[in-house]
Symmetry: C2
Subunit: 200 residues, 2 copies
DNA sequence: GGTGCCATGTAACGCGTTACATGATTAT
DNA sequence: ATAATCATGTAACGCGTTACATGGCACC
């Protein structure tokens, strides 16, 4: 329901047409970083809002330029907007496809979990590197929202890398003792017997 | 496409019926934490997989108990599974509804951004508190995947709290100097006015 | 008799993506 | 010329949720 409410918010400022809404959305929270909304969704959502009477088509402008369908918010729309703004955002935990894949690789044995982790670490480092460079090159005055989005993405990537280390260590611990004999060998590092590497 | 592939993965282990798949999915990555899949989706996805020939309905069991439609993976299904497991997971940045709301509150002036931040911080602390307690009470031996999911969620919450502090400081900085006078003062570093140290 | 678990679905809806399609103006 | 940008959409599909519906079995 967020795009819907975002459109109401932007129309709350002033009437606009679809293309303009798309541009405004991108400017506020946009880009591939964070929220990459497609024009098609803007137009379909706008239609649905109009059906519900939350916005109205106000005019059809065409002063020399191309045709523009201009929409405005209605009182009902403004009510819904205010309600949404006042409501707290409930935390959503990201559905982690990597974790799913890792668990399935462990459960099915079709693929080496070590490889899945390795690939993920490489991918996270790459992404972190890219974003760090972008972060260093933004204009600190003008692109405030971009800076904030980059900061968050970078912090999450760093957290994910630390987390990867943790789960790898945890899996190693398990793999090192599937035997019910925790007393046979002293823990002090057996000559790095990482020989097996899980088969396939 | 993840639920779809997860089902293939679970059927790759052995044939199962829908209810069993739902339970297995929940056990592997499940719960409200991370990935809360509904039975309805399992059944509809299963139908679609069957249409495509990636799984087949193998039998209809009914030994005293309720009716069970048992599905098995096909060779085509296994191919798709292996492809998916081998492919790297591309990083997805979470679409942040809080940030959207914050930006809209700034842009529209309908709601005080300070309140939005305040509410978000309270919500994050609450969630962090809940998860920390859960984390302290899991059985470290049996519920490995749950521990890992909790760790990740906690680390992300901590990152979000630090990030909230950062953006709040940044917004305070701006609010303290909205004067449009870039030429009155020479560019050469006005006496390092970083006095505030971000407020809170 | 009721509650809860096992087991199965269908219908309707909104979100979101991809592909396709049209046409005007503006800049190179 | 032609490429980019402005501007608008439709169709089809998959994902995901909610609501609704059915029925058996076990346990208290």
């Amino acid at each position: 329901m967020s795009v819907r409410n975002a459109l109401l918010g932007l129309l709350g400022q002033r009437p606009r047409h679809g293309y303009e809404l798309h541009a405004a959305f991108e400017a506020v929270v946009g880009g591939k970083l964070n929220w990459d909304v497609k024009p098609a969704q803007i137009y379909t959502t706008l239609s649905r809002l109009a059906e519900r009477g939350l916005v109205v088509e106000k005019a059809l402008e065409q002063a020399g330029g191309p045709e523009k369908r201009i929409f405005a918010i209605t009182p009902e729309g403004r009510n819904e907007l205010l309600e949404w703004l006042a409501a707290p955002v409930k935390t959503e935990h990201q559905r982690d496809k990597f974790f799913l894949k890792l668990m399935l690789s462990l459960a099915t044995g079709e693929v080496d979990p070590g490889l899945v982790i390795y690939a993920q670490r490489a991918s996270l480092y790459q992404e972190l590197h890219d974003l760090t460079i972008q972060r260093e090159n933004v204009d600190p005055a003008s692109e405030l929202s971009r800076i904030m989005m980059l900061d968050r993405a970078i912090m999450h990537l760093e957290a994910d890398l630390r987390w990867l280390d943790m789960i790898e260590a945890r899996l190693d611990d398990i793999r090192r003792q599937p035997l019910p004999e925790p007393k046979a060998r002293p823990r002090g590092r057996p000559p790095k017997t990482k020989n097996d590497s899980s088969g396939r």
